[in-house]
Symmetry: C4
Subunit: 124 residues, 4 copies
């Protein structure tokens, strides 16, 4: 069984816009890490957040079942602490099996939404 991806990923950009326009939850401003686990076992994922002016926070724990994708909104992470809005951060994502990670943001602070996405940085 071929395993696709890497076990260490980094998203150096991170920011949850503090306001939104439009129907929730689809059009709520959000920051997302899209995780894909193509393997035959669940992926145990740990996300650590880095900030500009305080110690890193984490790990946040997420499970991606076998043969599933999970689009994790940073807005929804709350253990060990909610992710502050209107604050620059970055994230390091580690998994116990190979996964693929893509970063996206939807920003609806203004009446018309904006989008951005990129493949995350991987190692290993």
């Amino acid at each position: 069984m071929q395993k696709i991806g890497k076990r260490l990923w980094v998203i150096a950009e991170g920011y949850i816009p503090p306001s939104s326009h439009g129907k929730a939850p689809q059009l709520t401003s959000h920051e997302t890490a899209c995780l894909l686990n193509t393997t035959e076992q669940p992926a145990q994922v740990e996300i650590t957040l880095y900030f500009a002016d305080r110690e890193p926070v984490g790990p946040y724990r997420v499970t991606v079942p076998a043969r599933r994708t999970r689009h994790v909104r940073f807005n929804d992470l709350d253990d060990p602490a909610p992710v502050p809005r209107d604050t620059d951060f970055a994230s390091v994502i580690r998994a116990d099996v190979p996964i693929v990670v893509q970063h996206s943001r939807l920003d609806s602070r203004q009446s018309e939404l904006a989008l951005m996405t990129t493949l995350a940085y991987s190692e290993g």
Copy 2:
């Protein structure tokens, strides 16, 4: 003859917005995989879709002729099943010759469109 690219690509982000504004088909909300085949033979491409809460679906089969690009809209894939709208997914793209894959979305749910793009993840 140099062959450019890889035979395995992954797009971890996937989402077809459920509504659109503007002239069809150009301004219809769409999710696209842009495939480039620079080789001298047709590329037989298989796309498998992964979801959050159900088994993978596929393969969807697409041919990219020799020395051609094909910008595949996920909206148009319907065999073995249409791609659900307003639903998170991810895709694994395999080809029998090296290709290059870039991911783009046009979102026209609101009156002004938004765009995003990224190089896909590759292996092999």
Copy 3:
């Protein structure tokens, strides 16, 4: 002298929107390949365009002087032929010295502009 980059780059996505709103040339809809040559000699660059339904066209020839960047708008390429508007394409970019290539689009078909960018795919 360290040489940064690669000599072969691919942008699998390509599309010049057929209309624009706003002040020219900044807000004219455009597709761009941003080229950076950090070396001490001029980079001779050849761009070949691939299409969905016709043979590749090129090479288009561009020079990036030593220690310079050049943001090439596909809109401006006209030898051996103008780049068709409202048409899917892809591009292969070869240089005689290492360069770095990033792809961007500004789409101002509607009254509010949209942007997208990605690092191009590289080999060699």
Copy 4:
């Protein structure tokens, strides 16, 4: 202690839109390099800017403390010289420890903002 990232990064696209709409500083048009230093020592970072028609300028010096991210707005760089607005540029980013770099732009020239982001190019 694992060190994540690379010590040489390139952003071939660069442009600070010359005007903005909306609340400053969040909605001011800006070009950003998001830097993440996961190591246990400060990262001394040097940024050199390349232009289309003049010699490179730099290095601009930035420090990213240990276990911190810093989202550097090119708008704010002013030593050895401010970064010109409405001017194409590119940047080479070197650090004395491994870091990860992601590029983003917020363009608010028009009344609705646009966003773009990409992982930067890395070597070494």
